[in-house]
Amino acid sequence: MPAAPEGGRAGWRRHAPWLAAQVALWVAVAAILRLALVPGESCPAVGRAEAARAIDAGADWLVEGQRPDGRFRYGYLADEGRPAPGYNVTRHAGVMDALYRVGRVGPANAALGYVEANLIHHDGWTAFAPSGEDANVGAAALLAVALVHRREATGDRDHDAVLRGLGRFIVAQQRPDGSILQYWSRATGASVPGVFGKFSTGEAFYALALMDRAFPGEGWLPPARRTADYLSTRRDAAEGHAFRQSDHWAAYGLATLAPAGLTEAEAGYARWLAGYFGFLVRLESQRVGRPLNPFSESGASLGTVGEGTTALWRLAGSDPRLADLRDRLGDRSACLAGILVERQVARTAPDPSARGAWFADGYTQMDDQQHAVAALLGALPALG
């Protein structure tokens, strides 16, 4: 029997159950969108002065925990009220760099004392590794980054020989395709084959790009470009990553390389990184203030996202191919700065060892402060 034609009140009355189902469907879709898929993004407002105070407080945590030999307090367990053991020379160099960048030259120079007592010189190059440890490109690269920033902050050229030695170590670890072997073994006196670091390749690229800025015309640009091309086009497949890796150090490197001009592949890689960091900032902002937030991001995790975002914001201001990203990257940088300031332990907190730090699950370590401080420093020009 054919269906009756539609129309009139009787027709709509016949559809009453359908109408009720439709109302339920629309309400359900709206609720799922709002509560689960696309919660509101909350970016705590922050100005330059407030961000600068947060930088100071974070740097204070690092400086106050510095030991007589120049090393820093590695970690702190707030619930137990005791420092955490362990040390990591790559993080030592990274913290040194952050301190030079924020103008804490005295403590950073004291940290340089520990470095000078643990340098390896071999085959014309210099690396940074305490006795018993193999030389790690990451530590050498971040030390080079710190020394370039020291050079720029103080005008002191006393460590140029060490800096060039570190650059030669990085180049010695570089393979013809631009990849960077992470370790050089004391036992064998040779590079360890087939081992690549998650971050050390990006750190090496950033160091080489800065070396070219410090010593233009000395030949640091070609190796920097080789690794930039490797990161932009081949790294993930070559090193067996199922997904493209995020890399805030590569973002720093690309921003540093920008005055020399980026290739299309490098600009494309920068765009991909911008999308990745931008997404992470949006995701984090959707969790701000949510009572059932089950996640707790560390200062290092948030800070690296902020560092990558702010570096690419600077790059987008100088490379016209990325100019369309500039405003949004500025917004994301400011948003993350607000989140960082909000999550920092206040200077008035009862536990003096917690003040100025960023905790996750009751724990903080030196690189939490290093990355958070660097992210805030990078965001300052983007703040109102």
Binding site: A3, G11, V29, L37, V38
Partner: protein
């Protein structure tokens, strides 16, 4: 959002094949046909025009909303693939969450005339499907347009994740 994705999104979410199937089942009169097209057009225009203030009020960036809209399109497309014929009055055949979400997402990112132009094209196709002499034949494209909706949904999610 590229022009191609804009047109594909509206063609998929208005799904002319589903319109033809609905007409085949409901035998609507001329007024119902006009009401269906008008409802679809009003939904699109209102959603696209209100997109910016709506997302601002909800504190949602267009890039993040694109992810949510993409998921709604993907789920709606999958459901339509399994069950292309929908119940309910013919006049409401175009009033769907996926069309509303796509219109909001498009309206938040593209100029309104461009969005309305792409939507008008899709509505014209839907109108032709509703007026076709053999709606059951046109109805066979419904699953394909549902599959297209699923693909557009996935593309929106990927674009939303990859965007700044």
């Amino acid at each position: 959002m590229s022009g191609g994705l804009l047109i594909a999104g509206f063609l998929a979410t208005t799904n002319a094949g589903r319109v033809a199937l609905a007409r085949d089942g409901a035998r609507p009169g001329g007024r119902d046909l006009a009401a269906a097209l008008a409802a679809g057009a009003v939904l699109i225009a209102a959603a696209a025009a209100a997109a910016d203030p709506l997302l601002d009020a909800l504190d949602i960036s267009p890039e993040s909303f694109r992810i949510g809209a993409g998921l709604v399109l993907a789920v709606g497309g999958a459901v339509s693939l399994i069950r292309p014929r929908r119940s309910g009055p013919f006049a409401a055949v175009l009033v769907t969450p996926e069309l509303a979400c796509f219109a909001i997402s498009a309206g938040a990112e593209e100029p309104l005339p461009q969005v309305l132009g792409a939507a008008a094209l899709a509505l014209a196709v839907a109108a032709l499907a509703a007026l076709a002499p053999r709606p059951e034949a046109i109805g066979r494209v419904a699953p394909f347009l549902a599959a297209l909706q699923l693909v557009v949904g996935v593309a929106l999610v990927v674009a939303g994740v990859r965007d700044v």
